[in-house]
């Protein structure tokens, strides 16, 4: 079996895929962080009147 040298195109596609992967991971981290802050601050709590009813 002969091993072929990686084509330059492979490197470019790998870079592109890595970029997309890192962007998606960053997006997940941002949404998670934002959710933690919003929940901690009580942004999603219903108004008091509704809870008492």
């Amino acid at each position: 079996m002969s091993l072929r040298k990686t084509h330059e195109l492979h490197q470019r596609r790998f870079g592109r895929n890595l970029g997309v992967a890192l962007t998606l991971v960053a997006f997940i981290v941002i949404v998670f962080g934002l959710t933690v802050v919003k929940v901690t601050r009580g942004d999603f709590e219903p108004p008091r009147g509704e809870v008492q009813n």
């Binding site: 470019r12 802050v37 601050r41």
Partner: protein
């Protein structure tokens, strides 16, 4: 094992890299958007949680980048003609126009939705309007139909500090509109100076820039007029709630320099400009970049000094 991912007939040697897609977002314009939106956010009288502030700036920047991608998709034909833009991802053949459109639309929807969720619906709606204004009103309509393209289109680039302010406060007031007016009035002299020394670029592309429709001497006079109006506005802003002594000093110095530059441009003719390769026009253009950066920097400084009792007029 055969390599299934590389088929000789479908290989494109100029296939785009991740950086080419990123270039569609106009990173240099995005840096201006980030900075001015950040100043709008921090100058607002309401403290913002750092994570929410970071998200707001990020999504405003992505919205700005998305409109850049849509601009490149629509303008691919004239970008091919102009020296300044022919290296962009679409004219250079690295990215297909359809890809730029898809990326622009997807990022527009994502950024507007996420900004509305992270801050408030008003901010999200305003970002959507900004993208619409830049892509539809400026790029698709005004850019190719009127020499006032850059004047009205400049509004799109002036909205980010307003969005930043709304993201922080959820409401509108006079101060963000002063920041808007600063960028709005700054845009025409900035781009007309560029049009003066880029010479035939806009002419070749058939874009009705003022230099093409009204001639270069008229453009020089317009630069002086807009710079004078800008100076009045910029110095006047010093006495508003976002101004203060630091801002006043910065505005006085920069506007004196800017007016001097505009005056020199208005007094020059084409022969003199060509003799020194548009040295004065190039210098004015570079100064315009510093001008906007330092004005917003001074507004930021006033905002950051306020908690220590130093910013503003106390």
């Amino acid at each position: 094992m055969s390599d299934a991912s590389i088929n000789a007939s479908t290989i494109r040697e100029d296939e785009a890299s991740f950086g080419d897609y990123f270039a569609l977002l106009k990173p240099r314009v995005m840096s201006l958007v980030v900075f001015t939106a950040l100043v709008g956010l921090l100058a607002a009288p309401v403290p913002v949680h750092p994570v929410i502030g970071f998200c707001a700036i990020l999504f405003i920047a992505i919205g700005g980048g998305a409109s850049g991608a849509l601009n490149m998709w629509w303008d691919a034909d004239i970008d091919r003609v102009m020296k300044r833009t022919k290296g962009r991802p679409i004219p250079s053949g690295k990215v297909e126009p359809g890809e730029a459109m898809a990326l622009g639309l997807a990022l527009s929807a994502m950024s507007v939705t996420m900004l509305a969720l992270a801050t408030n619906i008003f901010a999200g709606a305003f970002l959507a309007f900004t993208i619409f204004f830049y892509v539809v009103v400026y790029t698709m309509w005004l850019k190719r139909s009127t020499p006032q393209n850059i004047v009205i289109g400049g509004a799109a680039g002036a909205f980010p500090p307003v969005i930043g302010w709304i993201a922080a406060t959820g409401s509108m007031s006079v101060e963000p509109w002063l920041m808007f007016a600063l960028t709005f009035m700054w845009t025409p002299p900035h781009f007309w100076a560029l049009a003066l020394f880029m010479r035939s670029d806009y002419d070749d592309a058939g874009v009705p820039m003022l230099t093409v429709t009204h001639g270069r001497p008229a453009t020089r006079k317009h630069i002086l007029f807009y710079t004078a109006m800008l100076a009045l506005l910029a110095v006047g802003t010093a006495f508003s709630d976002i101004g203060g002594p630091v801002y006043l000093v910065v505005a006085m110095v920069l506007n004196a320099l800017f007016l001097h530059g505009a005056w020199k441009i208005s007094r020059r003719d084409e022969e003199a400009s060509e003799a020194d390769n548009f040295k004065v026009e190039r210098g004015f253009f570079k100064l315009s970049l510093l001008y906007l950066f330092l004005h917003f920097g001074a507004i930021l400084a006033e905002a950051l000094l306020k908690p220590y009792g130093l910013g503003g007029w106390g």
